[in-house]
């Protein structure tokens, strides 16, 4: 295991941002860390990189505690939205700093990425647009080639083309230089194909920790006449229910057995696997809406 997290909590005053979290990250895999705003994703990544001090629990990265640990921290790169830079620094100063501080830094790759994102090197970081600032983070995170690389919503202000560029470069470079990547994002559909493993956080806790392949059968979507759908899903773990006139659309957890699927098809109900984004939305709105067995009934025109 590259990273082992055991019973970790972080409290700020009375607020528990990360609440008794336990998980492991394996070597050379791409992880998605998903969660709503305030779910504790950024706090968790700051704990992993020793930037925050945990309130409880144990974190082991490459077999050691990352806090104030030079040997561990030189092998990690954490790109966060709130990164601060000295006022006088230009883009080239940031790149020169990264070249010194990350042992695996690839200057040629950085130069290629600079051209890809059309980032001017002699511009002050303070004067960069939101998108350019994100591009700078993406370039540092990719060219650092750190064995553990964490991206915390690295795409703010980047347009769809630039985001696709980031995903493409990440995928290609990870294939060539394998490393553990943690990608925290809201744009789930965009990265779904990139992720090998998904961890979903909600209110400081981990509510899902699963291989991406296994997730494809994690939830199903049944759409059809209300009465039939209700009957079919009566004994299932209903995550979400929507009604549109006489039509119901229900998200259920788990895989439907063959008989149920055949039965559904015969009675005019379509069954399809839920996308990662649909599953995520159902899992994380649930806790806000109430207990699992009482799904909210929302009337949709």
């Amino acid at each position: 295991m590259t990273i082992t997290v055991t019973g970790v909590s972080k409290a700020f005053g009375g607020v528990t941002a990360v609440d008794d979290v336990t998980f492991t990250l394996k070597e050379n895999r791409v992880y998605g860390l998903l969660g709503r705003n305030g779910a504790g994703k950024t706090t968790l990544m700051q704990l992993l990189t020793g930037q925050l001090f945990r309130t409880a629990g144990d974190i082991s990265v490459f077999g050691a505690d990352p806090v104030e640990n030079e040997a561990v921290l030189t092998r990690m790169c954490f790109i966060k939205e709130s990164q601060r830079y000295p006022d006088q620094f230009q883009v080239r100063h940031v790149l020169a700093s990264a070249a010194m501080l990350y042992p695996n830094w690839d200057a040629d790759f950085a130069a290629a990425l600079l051209a890809d994102f059309a980032l001017p090197t002699n511009r002050r970081v303070k004067k960069l647009s939101r998108g350019m600032l994100s591009a700078l983070g993406v370039i540092v995170g990719l060219a650092a080639r750190a064995p553990v690389t964490l991206f915390d919503e690295p795409y703010l202000g980047l347009d769809a083309v630039a985001r696709q560029l980031f995903y493409d470069r990440l995928l290609a470079d990870v294939a060539e230089h394998p490393r553990t990547v943690v990608l925290s994002t809201h744009l789930i559909d965009e990265v779904a194909d990139l992720l090998e493993h998904v961890i979903v956080m909600d209110r400081g806790r981990i509510v899902l920790d699963r291989e991406a392949d296994a997730l494809r059968g994690e939830a199903a979507l049944l759409t059809g006449p209300s009465g039939v759908v209700d009957e079919l899903t009566a004994d299932l773990d209903v995550l979400h229910l929507e009604r549109l006139g006489a039509i119901a659309r229900v998200t259920v957890r788990g895989v439907l057995d063959r008989d149920t699927r055949d039965d559904a098809a015969a009675r005019g109900v379509t069954v399809e696997p839920a996308t990662l984004q649909q599953l995520f939305v159902r899992l994380t709105t649930q806790s806000a809406a109430g207990p699992q067995r009482a799904p909210q009934k929302e009337a949709t025109r």
Binding site: F53, R84, Q88
Partner: protein, 231 residues
């Protein structure tokens, strides 16, 4: 390259990172003083004596504050430990203080050779310094600079960790503590003894041992704050 030295190198990337400003301000003060005393003319007995050298000492405090406030959050985000940052910044500011001490001494020599820049002005080569002992004079310049750099370092660390409110609370607390001490000393009639205590010490001790003690206390205090700082 050693990681602390890499951090030093990064801190010196931009000339405006604070290290040059004390010299810019000192140079400005020097030019103004030369102009001023040239206008006044040569009618001051013993030649004009100016305290404008203090300008470099006050801005040295800003150097420490700026370094920690600007660079520490940046470095933490790039995987530098608080310990390495503290070591690097100590090395950098100590080297800067010593280098500045040497330059101030060389300027003092020029001042001596030119009879006070042609206007008998005492600007660098102040009479209370150890003028007959070059290494000691350099150390007197340097350790006082270092003490102020570390005081600024502590203030920068306070602002970074506790915010502006923390800084003001610290300031109020410091004023209360000093005020209470003054009240106690007055009440106990200790002023004479206190002044005597310092007056009895050789000037060289006042200008070396005490700045080193202040620097050590400020360094320890700033480390205690920095070791738990978060970006």
């Amino acid at each position: 390259m050693n990681r602390a030295l890499q951090v030093v190198r990064i801190q010196t990337f931009t000339a405006q990172n604070g290290l040059t400003w004390p010299w810019v301000i000192l140079a400005t003060a020097f030019v103004i003083n030369v102009a001023l005393f040239s206008v006044i003319g040569d009618d001051i007995p013993g030649g004009p004596k100016t305290g404008a050298l203090a300008s470099i000492y006050l801005t040295a405090a800003a150097v420490g504050a700026v370094l920690v406030h600007q660079h520490l959050p940046f470095m933490l985000g790039f995987g530098v430990t608080r310990r390495t940052f503290f070591t690097a910044t100590t090395v950098l500011t100590a080297a800067w203080s010593l280098g500045s001490g040497v330059v101030l001494y060389l300027l003092a020599l020029i001042e001596r050779a030119t009879d006070g820049w042609g206007i008998r002005m005492s600007f660098f080569d102040l009479p209370f310094l150890a003028r007959d002992n070059p290494p000691l004079q350099i150390i007197e310049y340097a350790v006082t600079l270092l003490a102020l750099v570390f005081c600024g370092f502590t203030l920068g660390a306070i602002i970074l960790r506790f915010g502006a409110t923390g800084f003001w609370i610290f300031t109020v607390a410091a004023i209360v503590a000093l005020g209470a001490a003054a009240i106690l000393i007055t009440w106990q009639r200790w002023w004479g003894a206190l002044i005597g205590f310092f007056a009895d010490q050789p000037t060289a001790v006042l200008l070396t041992v005490w700045p080193v003690a202040i620097a050590a206390v400020a360094a320890a205090g700033s480390w205690l704050i920095i070791r738990r700082v978060t970006p």
